[in-house]
Structures are given as C-alpha cells and as structure tokens.
Symmetry: C2
Amino acid sequence: MSAGPAAAVLIVGSEVLSAKVQDENGPFLARRLHELGVELAAIHVVPDRIDAIVEALLLERRRVGWTFTCGGVGPTHDDVTLPAVARALAVPLVRHPGMERVLREMHARHHSGAALPAAALRMADLPGGTELLGDPEFPTLVVSRVVMLPGVPSFLRHQFERVAHLLGGAPYHLVSLYFSWGEDLLAAPLAAVAESHPRVDVGSYPRFDRADHRVRVTVEGRDAAAVREASGAILAAVAPDALVRSEGLER
Amino acid sequence: MSAGPAAAVLIVGSEVLSAKVQDENGPFLARRLHELGVELAAIHVVPDRIDAIVEALLLERRRVGWTFTCGGVGPTHDDVTLPAVARALAVPLVRHPGMERVLREMHARHHSGAALPAAALRMADLPGGTELLGDPEFPTLVVSRVVMLPGVPSFLRHQFERVAHLLGGAPYHLVSLYFSWGEDLLAAPLAAVAESHPRVDVGSYPRFDRADHRVRVTVEGRDAAAVREASGAILAAVAPDALVRSEGLER
C-alpha cells in the first residue's frame, strides 16, 4: 500500500473486555479514518489499567503518527487514560487552567451554580503540553499527536470531527469484484496479482450463505490507476463467467 | 480481581481496520469467555501481516494462558495466520495428514468429487504440534494453547464451542447499582471502596441520555461474598435516595 498517514486506536475498555458494553468507537473510527484516507494500523482493546495503556501506546508510537485513545478520561478511580498517556510520553501530569475553566463552566451550566467536587477536577490534570483544540466548550485533548477522546460515543464523535482536518489523509480507491468461484480456485491468481502489484491491497472475503457470490475480492490503494490495473489483471486471470458483478471499476 | 484463567483475542483483520467488515468475533468471544469465567486481557485487531500477528502473539503469551486468533486460515495470499503462529512459537510449519484428509473430504462433499486445487492445501500446513480437536469433520486447531479459529462468524462459533470446556473458567458474580448522582459526586466513595476491596472490580459507566439513571456502577468478582460486601460498602457511602435500582444483590 502506498505511503500516507497512519493511526492506531486504543479502546480503554474493561467493560468491553468483560462484555458489559459493546464497543462502537472502534468501528466508528475505522470508518472515518478510512474515509479520510488515514491507514489504521491496529485497534487495541485494553483494560482500564495504566500499565496496559502505556504498553499499547509505546508499541504504536513506534510505527504510526497518530494515536487515538477512547475512554478513561472521566473523574472516577477507573479513569486512568490521562496519567497513562503522560507516563508513555514521559511528561508530568499537570493541572491545565484552561481545562479547569471548561469543567467549572460545564458544571455550572448543568448544576445551576453548585460547587464542582474536587474529584471532578482530576479531568483537568492533563499530560504536560496538551492542547485544547476544536470546540472551546468541549475541547479535544491532543498532545504529541495522541488524541485523548472520551468513551461516550456521541461525545467521541463530536470531539473527533473537530480535529479530523488535522490528519492530512489522502483518499483510497476501492474496486470490489464478486465471483462465483470459491477461494480454493481464486487463491493462485490472486496471489500472483498481489505479488506483482505491491502498490495495492488485494483482499479476499468468502461467503458461505445464499449470497449471489462466493467470494468478494477487493483491490484498494491510494493510486486510482494502480487499482484499475490490478483489478484488470485479476479479471484477465479468471474465466469471464466467474465474475458475478463488480463495483468501483468506472474510471 | 481474583485469580483464574486469562485469555487474549487477536482479530486478524485488515478488512476490519479498513472498515469493509464490522467484526463480530471479538464481541462474541468477549461474551462467551466472560460467561465461562475466563478473564479477557485484551483484544487486538491487527492487519493480515505475519509481523503484526507475531508481535501481538508474543506480547500476549507473556501474560495469558490462552490466545485465540480469528481469521486468516483460508487458502488465499492474505491468509497468513498459520505461518505467523508457527513463527511466534518457533516451530516449523508442517503438512498435517489429518487436516489434509479433512480438507479433501470437505472438498469432495461440496464439489462432488472434483480434485482439490493445490493452493487449498495451504490450509493443511499447520504449526508443528497442532492438535485437531472437537468436530472431526470441521476440527478446531490448537497448539500450545493458541486456538486458531476461522474468521467466518458461524464457523468460529462452532469451533469455539467445541473446545470451550478446556478453558477451566470459574464463574463471575456481578452486581449493578444504578444511581441518580453523576460521576463527579460518586468518584470519591467509589475510589475508597475500590481501594479497600481489591478482590473485586468496581466499574463506573455514566449516561448522558434520558435513562432512569446517570451512572451504572458495577461490582464484579469470582467471590460472591466479596462482591456483596463491596456493594454494601458503596451503598453505605452514598445517600440512600441516590440509588435508583440494583441488580444481582439478592441474598
């Protein structure tokens, strides 16, 4: 696959691992990053533990530009993402005056002026150097290209969209070829085309239900001409009547 | 949390990372492992690349007993899970006569006796020492407590259930407390109870919609008495009228 920005997603989610909640944030970010032309290198679902978050962050920062953490930024004892990011980046956790102001104003709006409990101010203790971007009333927290998103899906979407323009992606081009042949017959021609066309990704997705096709083959890349060329090579290597239909082959 | 078997799940899924497919296997395994009393330590979604699979396997084998890989066991060029497991375990990839027989019989059943293409036999090249467990006609592949499951959800479920009894889990006990208070007010009492009751996990899940509660607090562990005791400590620390309802506190 051709070069471009890459990202990783960390779901901080003991509740996902213990099946109390089904994660929506990973699929949402996968879809949006792909639409934006940012390659997603991995999704890690880790428990709400500092060591687990630090380990996954350090692993991904070696290879991707952007890391998105999801969840663990609230005021309770199981919210440990902010100190974990600070530890992974080797920066101190410091009270952020701008974030403190945001929290006090948010609390005043929702609790008609009642005092904010001290514990809630933990949410203003941010990794040193964190910037508040996007919506001033509900800012997105970003430090060294680590984007610390909230776990509540509607909040996460709001904060993600406000920084999406920073990612600098380049769009993908996708062709789908639907075949009546099984993977056993397609394996050899697909391997040959994948080998001779390194600038595209060739995927093979078998079905075993009553769909109109047995395998969907995808050809994807950032260069439209390379995608068309590899798609043509696959079609040339397979008997014409094996193709049920195609998508995305229009010039 | 009290000791018990632990597992990790690897979704081998370029198609999940590029949002072509939404993963069902991670949520299924999370639910079933939890029901079986097996702690799930992480879910990793990695691309269909040997290096990425090997890295995640080596990471998890340092800390969990069982690892489940999902997908990448078919006959096409993007199916690389079997060689990746072999490399991570430092064993050779060897043609398994039992698996070859299974594949030939399966192919003959579905293609009325037509010859099996050579490429399809890649699925019989297994990490040395792999055992075929469960259903003899569609066996589950297990080596050194790495369970290599297929990516098609219905096939994965079939093969998982046939080895579930091997995992040796012990059931969890769960109490859910639904509060009208927000997390800002609950943070301090929850932190104190979590600190003084290390044998249980205390989770806090805020809602910002029109539900009857603002926070669901979960208390979970393998020892029912410890779960009841920690739940009682939380209720004692919070004003009685803040509790909307509870689940799992019987007896």
